[in-house]
Symmetry: C2
Subunit: 304 residues, 2 copies
């Protein structure tokens, strides 16, 4: 057991199998873990399981909320919780001074509370390191769905990747490595050049209709309506759409259905297809984030 986080009280509120791996790692690093939203038998030794969010938050110096975060009413995604787990203002008011609250992305109410109660809010989902590492299970999950939902191999298939951000790049690389003919749709010419360098065909959004007319599998990563009725009208009738963008996705699903196109909305793949890998990613990333952020507020912390 290491002691780098010794004496730090960390509350983990909800989540799934990934948080269980993270909890074990934080315990191993010497932190005091108080957990809500998991049954006792799921949580490893060394962490305290409590009944309520309020109890967990009391004097906590760090609060960890799951990557999918909460809804607008504060309901925390907690797959193992027996009752609805809600982040309340009462709980937040009990945090230690200058607490650090880690979440995928925060709703407005939480940002307001951060100002009111003066805690440090850290939204991690857009941080490059975490987003790129998470793009690996996302891309593999997308490929798994493509394998399951089509009667063809990825090898020799004509695929289209819409958007060339962190997920798009990883997915294009994986598809290319499996022997697919990959077309990347990107707005930015720099991204298009990178796609070309990787051996993909590069195209812009104005080419989408043409490209989809001879595409077998279309992966969307753009969180905006890009697969419109007008575009889908020209798609290869056997095309399968796998939409990886945050809900509600970037597909007009009603139109897809009308044209007889199979379309699957598949957000949040890492926790679903590879919870252990995704948990290890968190267990590697979050402790370093905690150490970095706590060092900022307390120069005495950790000998820095």
């Amino acid at each position: 057991m290491s002691s780098v986080l010794s004496g730090i009280k960390i509350a983990v509120l909800g989540g799934d199998d990934r948080e269980l791996i993270l909890i074990s790692e934080l315990v191993r690093m010497g932190a005091t873990l108080v957990v809500a939203g998991f049954p006792k038998e799921k949580v490893g030794h060394g962490a305290f399981v409590v009944k309520s969010v309020e109890e967990a938050c009391k004097d906590a110096e760090v609060v960890i909320l799951p990557l999918p975060g909460t809804d607008n009413q504060g309901v925390i995604r907690a797959v193992y919780a027996e009752e609805k787990l809600v982040l309340t203002e009462k709980a937040i008011a009990k945090l230690a001074p200058d607490a650090l609250v880690i979440i995928g992305s925060a709703r407005q109410y939480l940002k307001d509370w951060a100002e009111r109660y003066n805690f440090n809010l850290s939204e991690v989902i857009e941080m490059d390191e975490l987003a790129i590492l998470n793009s690996i299970p996302t891309a593999e999950g997308a490929v798994q769905i493509a394998m399951e939902e089509t009667p063809i191999t990825i090898h020799g298939s004509r695929t289209c990747v819409i958007g060339f951000g962190r997920v798009g790049v990883t997915l294009a690389r994986v598809l290319k490595a499996l022997g697919s003919d990959v077309t990347v749709i990107a707005r930015d010419e720099g991204q298009q050049a990178r796609a070309y360098e990787m051996g993909c065909i590069r195209a812009g959004f104005s080419d989408l209709r043409d490209v989809l007319s001879h595409t077998d599998i279309c992966f969307n990563t753009v969180p905006a309506l890009v697969l419109t009725k007008d575009v889908l009208n020209y798609a290869n009738p056997d095309m399968v759409i796998i939409d990886l963008a945050t809900q509600p996705g970037g597909t007009d699903f009603e139109a897809a259905n009308m044209f007889g196109l199979k379309a699957i909305l598949a957000p949040g793949l890492p926790g679903k297809v590879a919870p252990v890998t995704a948990g290890k990613i968190l267990a590697d990333f979050i402790p370093r984030l905690i150490i970095k952020e706590l060092s900022k507020v307390d120069n005495g912390f950790l000998g820095n």
Copy 2:
């Protein structure tokens, strides 16, 4: 419609979706197709669907049996047949002289009949071209199962491929491309050198115990008992075995079960995971084989 096979009577006996694609291609090439073991509505235009194997075989110059072939009693694998489809000696006796019979691999009874009735028996499953092309859907199917059955990504996983024949090579390449640490177990030093060239770790069968102790996913391609109780006793307890060898596979499944190892026997993947691609492979390969073989017996055929 082409006419390269014009006037040739071809009987297709049983099979699955792959044969349906093959039938369409043979019709397109001008052959006269007589089909048993499929309902009429499944078979495209231009092919005659008959009730019995005998009827289909009458005067047939070419007979196509499915890749999995028949059992020792002559029962043909025919997933869409309503009744048991049996290859009888009576049917074989009705073939045209010098007929060509194409099958994955033949049981002894069929080899005996080939001598007695003087037909040309062509066993295709071991032919390099077909075996290598089929190794693509096999490898993708194996990866799909691995993704479904493990909570980790292939990327960063420690995999082991036992046997470095046509399937082993393709599978190692695919796993490597996805970012796995691949160890190849091969007897032949030339194969070991090729595995090393591909960036894999090379090992022999005597290293199997050591290798499996730190393997996450083990793929077997060797059709002999290689994953013995003695070897499995040393395996990483979280290891998943995916056995691609012909039934009964190369795993002591009872021992695997005893040690709590998940072990999956997955033969015949191409027709299951990618029937359209696997059908196109047949539709490309079989007509060329027919043309080549018929040219041998009849120099006047096809103008050769």
